[in-house]
């Protein structure tokens, strides 16, 4: 009987790409069987934490920084860099804490501005443009309970003069946007809904989603704000307390291989973390590509975010509460 390995994936098109770019090649290569549970980072994390006595995942993928908490709580296993053949090619920031238990990032969602390229006039180019009265009640903000929303907010905070120790400028800015008629959503489908149905023009969200919308036939475009592009890292983590960690490590290694990342970028417009990844021009235009492109990415201190998440969410809630 073939060995099996259990992981989570994010469903829908993501899962399709995941299967095609990583899982199927992995199965072919190792003869093992990969069993997938469709679960987003938040849900997967909750499941991991609750199941601590009998974890079912071998590899768990996070996109919202949950690996930091998970590693702290000992739910994840430290990774010996030597066991990952591709680790050397991965940008440093994407494999900084392997020893603590945080797995390597295998793709990056770039947070920027999604806009309707037919209706939005002028087209936005910078985060500051969100304040443009012309967009007023056509702006969609994402709730910071959503990982992308958090990064978007921190960016708004930053361009308004705040930093991770002081988010008040960000809150004030949001408050003003809301007064002008901006709306807040908390899940991606709602963003689609707003763009498709409700005359939304601009949203701060991830590049991959812009691509999803475009594929669905909506006139959406994506731009990296001039002030910088917050990066959301998608990590592949090794779960503690599982029997076949070697196989799991092979899968993680596969995830950070150039081929897999190229495939991902091609299909979903995620930015690769492996420096050796080769992308076609058209794809490259949509993502943060190469040393240069990656340099433009802003990485807010994840430790600080985790430490403050609760308090920020509280403050945010109060700000947006009607």
């Amino acid at each position: 009987q073939a060995e099996t390995i259990t992981i989570n994936s994010f469903g829908g098109a993501y899962e399709e790409a995941h299967r095609e770019c990583i899982l199927t090649p992995f199965e072919e290569k190792t003869g093992a069987e990969v069993r997938v549970v469709t679960a987003y980072s938040a849900d997967a994390f909750a499941q991991l934490r609750a199941q601590k006595d009998a974890p079912q995942f071998d590899v768990i993928h996070f996109s919202g920084g949950q690996e930091i908490v998970a590693a702290q709580e000992g739910l994840l296993s430290p990774i010996d860099e030597a066991k990952l053949s591709n680790a050397g090619d991965v940008y440093d920031f994407a494999r900084a804490n392997l020893a603590k238990g945080e797995g390597p990032a295998y793709s990056i969602a770039a947070i920027g501005l999604l806009y309707n390229n037919e209706a939005a006039d002028p087209k936005p180019t910078a985060w500051k443009d969100l304040a443009n009265e012309a967009y007023a009640d056509h702006i969609v903000l994402t709730d910071i309970s959503n990982g992308y929303g958090m990064l978007g907010f921190l960016m708004i905070n930053q361009v308004n003069g705040g930093d991770l120790d002081n988010i008040q400028p960000g809150l004030d800015a949001v408050s003003k946007l809301l007064d002008n008629g901006a709306i807040v959503v908390s899940t991606s489908p709602e963003i689609q809904q707003e763009f498709a149905q409700n005359d939304a023009w601009i949203a701060a969200y991830a590049s991959d989603y812009a691509y999803t919308l475009r594929k669905a036939g909506l006139p959406t475009a994506f731009t990296q704000g001039a002030e910088g592009t917050p990066a959301s890292l998608i990590t592949a983590n090794l779960v503690a307390g599982r029997p076949n960690q070697d196989l799991a490590l092979q899968l993680i290694d596969m995830s950070i291989s150039p081929e897999a990342q190229a495939c991902f970028a091609e299909k979903l417009r995620y930015s690769p973390t492996n420096a050796k990844t080769e992308l076609a021009g058209e794809v490259a235009a949509d993502v943060a590509y190469g040393e240069e492109g990656v340099k433009g990415l802003i990485r807010f201190d994840p430790i600080k975010i985790e430490a403050n998440r609760s308090a920020w969410v509280d403050a945010w809630n109060r700000t947006i509460a009607r």
């Binding site: 259990t6 994010f10 469903g11 829908g12 609750a50 601590k52 009998a54 036939g217």
Partner: protein, 267 residues
């Protein structure tokens, strides 16, 4: 009765039913509309007409497997909660147990707590004791959250029953079990039927427990839909829902034709 209801009231009643119907069905019409849309995304009014989303759903293993699992779980859950809840309701109705007032409130408590709390608690306990989750976990926990419906609807119906009937059966030699089966059960039927329907439906549409208490290969339909919506929302979810609507109507219609459900509904 002779002109039991005056004409204006009758008209009012018809208007009331029609308006309620519109209110209840309008979103469903939207969904059905969306499901035949040609476009990739969920929008209304639909652009163009195509059945491609139905085709997509009916040829998708993920959807079909999920639906099959959901149906199995829902059937198991319905049967269990029907028995467990019906029996408990009868016992509570008789009010011969100590604290039956308190008990009947406590039996509501699974509805009071947001399911996520229960889901996490259940997952923690289950992993600590039994290890990996299985269909059994989902079965048990769905039974927990559906039983209150059966209890409530059955209790309500029993409150209007003739107390002498059971006694009469008793004097005719009916044993406890026979009394339950031949006298009390027929009395419970309308309530039990409603409760059972709720149970099936709740289990079939339950996403939170199913989301947390799952393992590879055990994805229920609501979780599947939820996943589809989150990452690539397309009209296929509307098609799934439309199929469910259609199947419900068809099923009820067929059962009615075969068993005379409408007569049943009148007891």
């Amino acid at each position: 009765m002779v002109r039991a209801v005056s004409t204006p009231l009758r008209i009012g009643a018809v208007a009331f039913v029609v308006l309620t119907g519109i209110f209840l069905l309008a979103p469903l019409v939207v969904i059905v509309g969306v499901s035949v849309s040609e476009s990739q995304f969920i929008s209304f009014p639909p652009t163009g007409f195509s059945l491609r989303w139905y085709e997509a759903v009916l040829s998708s293993d993920a959807y079909l497997n999920a639906a099959w699992i959901s149906i199995q779980v829902a059937l198991l859950v319905t049967v269990t909660s029907c028995f467990v809840g019906g029996a408990a309701a009868i016992a509570l109705h008789r009010r011969k147990l100590p604290f039956s007032g308190l008990l009947s409130t406590l039996f509501l408590s699974p509805l009071v707590l947001p399911t996520i709390i229960y889901a996490i608690g259940m997952l923690m306990l289950w992993s600590a004791i039994f290890g990996p989750v299985s269909v059994l976990t989902l079965w048990v926990s769905h039974t927990i959250i559906t039983t209150p419906y059966v209890i409530r609807t059955t209790l309500a119906v029993l409150s209007e029953s003739d107390p002498f009937l059971e006694e009469a059966a008793q004097t005719m030699g009916a044993s406890r079990f026979q009394r339950l089966r031949l006298v009390v059960l027929p009395q419970c039927l309308p309530g039990l039927a409603a409760g059972t329907f709720f149970a099936f439906n709740i289990s079939f549409d339950e996403a939170v427990l199913a989301l947390f208490l799952r393992k590879p290969g055990m994805t229920t339909l609501p979780v599947q839909i939820y996943g589809q919506l989150e990452f690539s929302p397309d009209p296929s979810v509307a098609a799934v829902s439309s199929i469910m609507i259609g199947l419900t109507v068809l099923l009820i219609f067929v059962i009615d034709r075969m068993l005379g459900l409408h007569r049943f509904a009148s007891t």
